[in-house]
């Protein structure tokens, strides 16, 4: 696993996993967590490709997906920027949160847990000993 810094941003590239997903998910979380600010410029495709030593087309595809997410927008001749709209990012986070939760719930239900049991597990992990 290779850790690379681009400006203040940190990326980890693991060549044993598909690269496209890694770039996409790491960019998504950097934006969602606000490590790249609203309206801030994100690294250019060239910069990313050079620093991460990967095919620029891979980076470009990930960036296109970010744009479809509504997280970024291209400005002609200037590069790609995180959207100015805080609601846009919130919407994205909410959508992602719902997705993750739905997946979690589905998994738990498939194991036969009832809603109150699931809640107890959540409580245990967030507040109890050995929690997150």
């Amino acid at each position: 696993m290779d850790e690379r810094r681009i400006g203040s941003l940190r990326f980890t590239i693991d060549f044993s996993q598909p690269l496209y997903e890694q770039i996409l998910s790491q960019m998504r979380s950097l934006i969602a967590k606000g490590e790249i600010d609203v309206g801030e410029k994100i690294p250019s495709v060239r910069e990313m490709a050079h620093e991460l030593k990967i095919n620029p087309n891979t980076v470009m595809h990930a960036y296109q997906e970010l744009e479809r997410d509504g997280l970024t927008e291209k400005r002609r001749g200037q590069g790609t920027f995180v959207t100015n709209s805080v609601t846009q990012i919130r919407h994205f986070k909410e959508r992602l949160a719902l997705d993750y939760t739905r997946e979690f719930l589905l998994n738990m239900r498939n194991l036969g847990f009832r809603p109150d049991e699931i809640e107890a597990y959540l409580e245990k992990l967030t507040h109890g000993k050995g929690g997150l």
Binding site: I13, D14, F15, S16, Q17, P18, L19, Y20, V45, R46, A49, H50, L52, K53, I54, N55, P56, N57, T58, M60
Partner: protein, 232 residues
């Protein structure tokens, strides 16, 4: 659906009794970066020489850019030969001038830009260059060309880490600026594998395994590890 730029069917090439290329069938997709990997003697260089028409197959067919490979198709191919050296009484800039007159689609101003990026002095004679500097010069002679196909046989072999890094950077720029098909063979897989769209493993002159790099990673882990497993 992606077009093919190279199609080989049942290629065979003997050297004395040894089969260097043994029933080789493959297609290279247009616009992709394809890595040809495999141990020494797997037939990679012989295959590249067939693409450039300087080695003729004993049997089978090979179509390059829709034609039979020969000197005339080389107008559209930038080829870095294996273990090549450049003419030793040329400076970098004189080499660019020669290339501009001889190699179709060569762009001198682009070459000079690459030389700056790769920190190669223009007035240095090849005689006085380190192996890494000479390798950078030869790579520029290939990537500063506006041709549909670039074929690089071991561009990283036997050169220092700094030169390898510069060559990677130049390749990345070349990929993003042009819609070229890039065919590359290397043993430096860990350093270069981020570039690959497709990977073809050669063994004893035929295809052992091939696929999209991302798909292979999903299935087997990194291309570097996979290559190690396959050569065991």
């Amino acid at each position: 659906m992606t077009e093919s730029i190279i199609v080989s069917e049942h290629l065979v090439k003997h050297y004395d009794k040894k089969r260097a290329i043994d029933d080789l069938s493959l297609t290279i997709k247009k616009g992709h970066v394809t890595a040809i990997l495999g141990s020494n003697g797997a037939g990679k260089s012989t295959f590249f020489r067939m693409i450039t028409g300087i080695v003729r197959p004993d049997s089978g067919t090979l179509s390059v850019l829709g034609e039979n490979a020969g000197w005339h198709t080389n107008a559209k191919i930038a080829y870095l030969p294996d273990r090549a050296r450049w003419y030793n009484n040329y400076t970098a800039e004189q080499s660019f001038d020669l290339a501009a007159r001889l190699l179709l689609g060569f762009d001198k101003s682009e070459a000079i830009r690459f030389a700056e990026l790769m920190r190669l002095p223009l007035d240095l004679k090849v005689d006085g260059m380190s192996k890494g500097q000479e390798a950078r010069l030869m790579l520029i002679l290939c990537i500063a060309r506006n041709v549909p196909l670039v074929v690089l046989d071991e561009p990283f072999s036997g050169i220092d880490a700094a030169s390898r890094e510069r060559i990677m950077e130049a390749l990345i720029d070349a990929i993003s600026e042009k819609e070229q098909t890039l065919l590359i063979s290397t043993h430096e897989i860990h350093e270069a594998e981020g570039l690959f769209d497709d990977v073809i493993f050669f063994q004893n002159g035929h295809v052992l395994l091939s696929g999209e790099a991302e798909e292979l990673r999903r299935k087997y882990g990194s291309i570097d590890t996979l290559s190690r497993k396959l050569s065991d």
